[in-house]
Symmetry: C2
Subunit: 589 residues, 2 copies
Amino acid sequence: MSTLETTVLETINSPADVKKLSVKEMNILADEIRQGILNRVDQIGGHLGPGLGIAEATIALHYVFNSPVDRFVFDVSHQCYPHKMLTGRKQGFTDPCGHPEISGYFNYEESPHDPFMIGHTSTSVSLATGLAKARDLKGEKYNVIALIGDGSLSGGEAFEGFNNASVLGSNFIIIVNDNEMSIAENQGGLYKNLKELRDSNGTCANNWFKAFGFDYLYVEEGNNVEKLIEAFNKVKDIDHPVVVHIHTLKGKGYEPAVKNKEWGHWSMPGLLSEKSEISGVIPECYETLTKDYILNAVKNDSTVIALNAATPGVFWWDSEFRNKLGKNYTDVGIAEQHACAYASGLAKNGAKPIWGVHSSFIQRTYDQLSQDLALNKSPATILVFWGGINGADATHLGLFDISLISNIPNIVYLAPTCKEEYMKMLDWSVKQDKHPVAIRVPYVDFVSTGVEDNTDYLKLNKFKVVEKGSKVAIIAVGDFFSLGKKVKEELKSKLNIDATLINPKFLSGIDKELLEGLKSNHDVVITLENGILNGGFGEKIASFYGNSNLKVLNYGANKEFNDRVDMDELLTRYRLKKELICEDVNKLL
Amino acid sequence: MSTLETTVLETINSPADVKKLSVKEMNILADEIRQGILNRVDQIGGHLGPGLGIAEATIALHYVFNSPVDRFVFDVSHQCYPHKMLTGRKQGFTDPCGHPEISGYFNYEESPHDPFMIGHTSTSVSLATGLAKARDLKGEKYNVIALIGDGSLSGGEAFEGFNNASVLGSNFIIIVNDNEMSIAENQGGLYKNLKELRDSNGTCANNWFKAFGFDYLYVEEGNNVEKLIEAFNKVKDIDHPVVVHIHTLKGKGYEPAVKNKEWGHWSMPGLLSEKSEISGVIPECYETLTKDYILNAVKNDSTVIALNAATPGVFWWDSEFRNKLGKNYTDVGIAEQHACAYASGLAKNGAKPIWGVHSSFIQRTYDQLSQDLALNKSPATILVFWGGINGADATHLGLFDISLISNIPNIVYLAPTCKEEYMKMLDWSVKQDKHPVAIRVPYVDFVSTGVEDNTDYLKLNKFKVVEKGSKVAIIAVGDFFSLGKKVKEELKSKLNIDATLINPKFLSGIDKELLEGLKSNHDVVITLENGILNGGFGEKIASFYGNSNLKVLNYGANKEFNDRVDMDELLTRYRLKKELICEDVNKLL
């Protein structure tokens, strides 16, 4: 691994240096920025196409505006790689040793050029409206610029922001980066309007932005630095809200990412050396099982429908899978609130929706889970992927879904520990018509017991005693069941305790009868859950035993936002290791 | 109280009866519907202006369409009073004895003519899109009609729904009930577009609905039953999505509600006999204290800004207050996600936002609380009103805010027990710049101790021992502190126990040192909180004491949606009474 050689980029230490460049140098800089992105993504993975497409626009923005006095707010902040390279953080792209220092998202802890930490989408206009209004209240003068696009327009928060930004009555600039894509294809009528606008060079009669009252400017050549500078100069220091709609090429400069924009949106490490489409034999896993199940279910029941909000790749719902499903598939775009309410409507009218969602993004639709879905007891199936402790950016943690979902009445939240349970739960959920059901797809490892699961999940909140013992009972939830088994072994070998091992299966309720029964020959109950402790599963067990002599030890994550912290460090911090748990039990007994 | 006499309404037992009427009879029916609304609201309170304005439209809808085969979904479902009167539930409006039987919202448990239970806004288009898609998957044919309006267009979920409904490719009818109002005034650029459309009889160049690709029809005379029937007949059985924009008069037929539409939006009982504007001397309360504080704060600091999402009346932020604040006030419309992100942006740029919100509506913005606000440590102040157990409709419970807010990292959630603490917390929060702070404004009663609060709330999670005792410790949160005092007295008089009484003040963290100290001379800790137990405050105390001999009894609400259940019944069910708690303690000791 060697440092990337650049000629112009190496002279850029702050936006001031961008202002000294000629157009020719800026074009070289754009190419070097793209090399920087490829270099980083090849080494540590990350977002590829979005940054490649917006190199010129970012250069032009820093050429025209004066960050950090002027404020930039980047939406789907994975578009910010070029911005980072121009604001003193190029080592995160050119220098392999520097890569991990710099996050892949907007981050106020890194630089005054990033006013916020941003990772979820559709936030920029709302956040920037706040910056602009504070500016006005303080009587200050500078530009506030929100950069949105790459699919994030379809989120409700973006719309709410547009609605209010348009009546702000003072300087406010929205750059719409229209690269014709979301993560997968763009979805919805709004994106048809963007196409009309592109096709008419911004002049067509129907203009979604003008309908709000925004001033509007269209730039067809969104990768032409001169045209961009011209446009940005026109709106600089403007005294009212304006939308600058720029048409860019996602993946520009890296042909595979241009040809297959969805594939090129994000990449694992090893991009340049080997990665193309996933190839070879894929071992059985929860993703393949889910896809096979859905394809088969649709064959037998034309009302089964898979849906998701713009992230089909998270569940490996590739274009082949989507095409096979046809009308039995909906990607609603980045619009989780709609996804949830839509699922409720589908279920209420007798269809069988299966909604795949990333743990971090189900946060975007709490009220719909509660009001539209749970209150209506609509029998939709929600598959929550990627829930659990991870070393991700602070904006993409999977810690909060148990606390979020399991405290809403009427939703059955299930936690399978293995393939057989998962398949049974999924099938039961799809075929029943009584409850909204969420299933937390295991995240830690893939386990197949080979033993068919015959549980009737309609009997809610029945925990399963997997191994009967005494003195200590381990209640190990979902994919922490394997940790539970290890703790049991450790207790046996270190303390000669034959612990009881319990698979609770349900996150949304407790098995009072079973818990009551443990009192007779147990002194300690351990709970293990792969998520935040606060508001989670274990605390409910502690509360249940509050009036008894039984002691309870809850294990899970602390209430904190961790930003790219090593998993082993986290597991140690949370004492989620068999030796540490055994130590705690020993102290207690 | 006598039953309302009607001539046409008395003949209407189902929509089939509406279809038999002449236009003349329909107009009489519209007036009788309005009398029904006034009658009900006068007796038991409820939504007034919205229903008065939509009587003709509802009659025309039931005349043209064929519910429940055709499906109606009403948004801000408080517009559904006329619909209820035409679908077999007129006793809820004409007969005083029948009033409480019928809820003020869409309710699938009441009638097949209400496909969902709906109370929060901006949901209709998303829910109806699901119904329509299920219809298409099943190969069925009928109309799906979403009725939206009365301010609910500005919520992000509505926009997400519009975006996807527009590409549904089959029958889908959206009725936009444009009465020129939200609960207070409409807010944002979208509503300017509605005005342009009204002013141009639907013909102006910029058309927000057409920009999505919707077919579009405008009806200026939205209270003219003939014109409405004509328009609805045009779109009946349409094979693609269409918007019918109707211009109606909120409050029609009751002059005070027409003249003051905000006042006439909702009314307490006693409307016809006495209620006009609130008059006379208003006793000191949290609402008046808050207003006085804000007005005073703005005088001294021009960056203090009050904001809310369309429900200023909940906090008594009347037009006089709003006018006094001028630019230091923003009503963002029904757009809680934006409100939260906007507050974060304001705070991040040095302004001092104070955001008032109803406990039930803060659910509409979980992700923004987490990502936009908490992750960014933006020092905004959130005042959560109406949090607590109540006898409201299932859609408007105040039970979930503790579980929702207190499990998000970085947010300080405070629970004052009296005026003096509230004022100190509010002032501290507005002046500090370290934390996002939410304050749960007491709901049960108004208490003033007369003793100034000198706490430094920057020292987080410090509980206060109000009275030292032994054996039993009572941790009584926020407005349940008064219940805590009563429990202490009961324990003394019945069991001769001098209990310790603790005011925790913080909902978002526990005072480990203080809790540790209780172990030496206490056997039982009681927690009392005015909200759902699951994921709440008490469970954290139980978890803390899990490894000790101390017993813990958690009191709060069960995880359930209650629909208009008597408060006393709920308090008994949850054992939230001094005698019942004393019984439980006695059993345990």
